[in-house]
């Protein structure tokens, strides 16, 4: 049974006239316990608002206009229950005037005696890689590096004993060597604690390193989803295929051209009636500009929303 199901999620941005402009349309996916699911896409594709909607963290300007978010058992997700978040900028999430210890204690929600809580905090900090948890507990956020702050955030997230951890660009602000360590840690925690992890990122390299499943979003919709190896090895949708070709790779040869993606992402409210990628797609035909492509599932476990996918046209 899945841990969490998102079905036909629709999110809209409120307009001053009282209407809404669609931001996220018909987004469905399921998360498994002990697995990492990545939602990947460029800025403005709707991945972060989708993540916020799951935990009931939508800002006032954005409303859910359709769809359901439910735990695997069928119960609706109650705001803040069973879900913990880590964000891109740990420095902004930690309160500068309190010690790390007092902030983690808050996540523990007064479980157990003072001594038990202290031991639990030290255990959590050791788990996220701190050799001297006592010193970290007494530290203020500014006394820690960016990577250490993100570890402290992870300890705080785990203290709440979540079933689902939502990590929204957790390593984007960090150096690559620190990023690699945090990603490894996330993957370990997810396996050990049977935690479901929803990873929000723009970085396909990060997805390839740690995620089990991936959904690629473009202009508010999922365009392709499935097992990471299947989707990233040979994407069927032209958008993830173009993203992969635009990505600098380590095995490149000097003088190789990066295949850029011409044009820009259509902003919300200016997406046409058809496939939102059509204006930038080399394979776009009349049907692409007129009808939203249906979601098709393939034998290899992936789903694709493209009129040309699945051998319909070469």
């Amino acid at each position: 049974m899945s841990l969490l199901d998102v079905e036909g999620l629709e999110l809209g941005l409120r307009t001053p006239e009282g209407g809404t402009v669609p931001l996220v349309e018909d987004v469905s996916f399921s998360l498994e316990a002990g697995r990492m699911f990545a939602l990947v896409g460029e800025s403005g594709c709707g991945k972060s608002v989708t993540a916020a909607a799951i935990g009931g963290l939508l800002p006032g300007s954005i409303v859910q206009t359709g769809g359901r978010i439910r735990w695997g058992g069928g119960n609706a997700v109650r705001r803040g229950e069973g879900i913990a978040y880590v964000f891109q900028d740990p420095g902004e999430c930690l309160d500068p005037v309190f010690t790390v210890g007092s902030q983690i204690a808050e996540s523990l929600r007064m479980r157990g005696s003072r001594r038990e809580r202290r031991e639990e905090m030290e255990r959590l900090l050791r788990r996220v890689g701190f050799a001297e948890p006592g010193r970290v507990l007494a530290s203020y956020p500014h006394q820690l590096s960016g990577g250490q702050q993100q570890r402290a955030m992870l300890a705080m997230a785990l203290a709440a004993r979540p079933r689902l951890l939502v990590a929204d660009e957790p390593t984007t602000a960090l150096d690559v060597t620190v990023q690699a360590k945090i990603l490894r840690l996330l993957a370990e925690l997810q396996r050990e604690a049977g935690l479901g992890v929803l990873l929000i990122t723009h970085n396909l390299g990060v997805v390839a390193e740690v995620a089990d499943e991936v959904a690629v979003m473009y202009a508010g919709r999922i365009v392709e989803a499935g097992p990471v190896r299947t989707v990233l090895r040979r994407p069927e949708h032209p958008y993830p295929a173009a993203l992969l070709r635009a990505l600098p790779r380590l095995d490149a040869v000097r003088g190789d051209e990066l295949a850029d993606i011409p044009g820009v992402v259509p902003p919300p409210g200016r997406r046409g009636p058809g496939c939102a990628f059509a204006p930038r797609c080399a394979r776009a035909a009349a049907v692409c500009r007129e009808c939203v492509p249906p979601w098709r599932t393939a034998a290899d476990g992936r789903g694709v929303a493209c009129h040309h996918a699945g051998g319909v046209e070469s």
């Binding site: 390193e209 635009a246 990505l247 190789d256």
Partner: protein, 264 residues
């Protein structure tokens, strides 16, 4: 190679902010018409170095920075003015260097006017030409910064940097704030400008995969010092220093990760 083959030579450069030394004695030469990549993680001193060699850290920098037979760190006022035209910089933040109330065409014309290169109608015409050079259609002349994407703003910044006749362009993480598709556009543009106009450039960045595409020579920094220096392709294929190996191993790379996980 004779001295003319180098656009810039840096000898024993130090940058000190009070007691903190950001750059601890760095020497290198930039070959004319080539791209020198300067790579390292945050705090390694790469941005301090970029600013110092352009004379933007007059109080903190010491050493020698040779450009066109003159030392950038010891220039007089008139020399400095001429140098500002010949060596330019673009930053990661595409908004920061643009006036939010100035349309793209005016923003380029303004630079030409300030440097006394053109005014009025001629400046506007040359600005239009530069928009085309950096891959923007003429209607972009009428757009304000907020009416453009990050990639389009960065094109305007590059046009502003080059329109004064710059021979050396320092690009400090020029594409890091952009989405993948835009990053590729900007990097391809910079390389086209290098090839077609013989621009010499320094690419400051942390992305070693991008260096692989763009840099002819590479300098890897850590804690203010150079840990590896040489032909970029050679260094990245056979990293001679453990820190460079660690950096390379940490780069999230799709083909490598899929291969590794396929074998697991």
């Amino acid at each position: 190679m004779s001295a003319e083959d180098f656009a810039m030579r840096v000898e024993d450069l130090h940058v000190r902010y009070g007691r903190f030394e950001a750059v601890k004695g760095v020497s290198f030469a930039v070959r004319r018409g080539r791209c020198l990549g300067i790579a390292g993680e945050s705090g390694c001193g790469k941005s301090s170095l970029a600013r110092a060699i352009l004379g933007l850290e007059p109080d903190a920098a010491s050493g020698r920075v040779w450009f066109g037979g003159m030392d950038v760190l010891r220039m007089g006022r008139a020399e400095r003015r001429a140098f500002r035209r010949r060596a330019q910089i673009v930053f990661q933040d595409t908004y920061g260097s643009l006036n939010p109330r100035m349309k793209a065409g005016e923003a380029i014309a303004e630079v030409l006017r300030v440097h006394g290169l053109a005014r009025g109608k001629e400046a506007a015409e040359r600005a239009a030409g530069w928009l085309e050079t950096v891959g923007l259609t003429p209607d972009y002349a009428e757009r304000f910064p907020h009416e453009m994407s990050g990639g389009q703003r960065q094109r305007v910044n590059i046009a502003r940097a080059l329109c004064v006749g710059a021979e050396l362009l320092v690009a400090d993480e020029p594409a890091s704030a952009l989405d993948v598709g835009m990053q590729a556009q900007i990097m391809n543009l910079l390389r086209r400008l290098q090839r077609e106009r013989g621009i010499t450039w320094l690419l400051i960045g942390h992305d070693l995969a991008a260096m692989r595409y763009l840099a002819d020579d590479l300098l890897v920094m850590r804690e203010g010092r150079v840990v590896a220096q040489g032909d970029a392709a050679e260094l990245l294929a056979n990293p001679p220093h453990p820190y460079l190996r660690e950096l390379l191993a940490a780069v999230p790379d799709v083909p490598r990760a899929l291969a590794r996980r396929g074998a697991e």
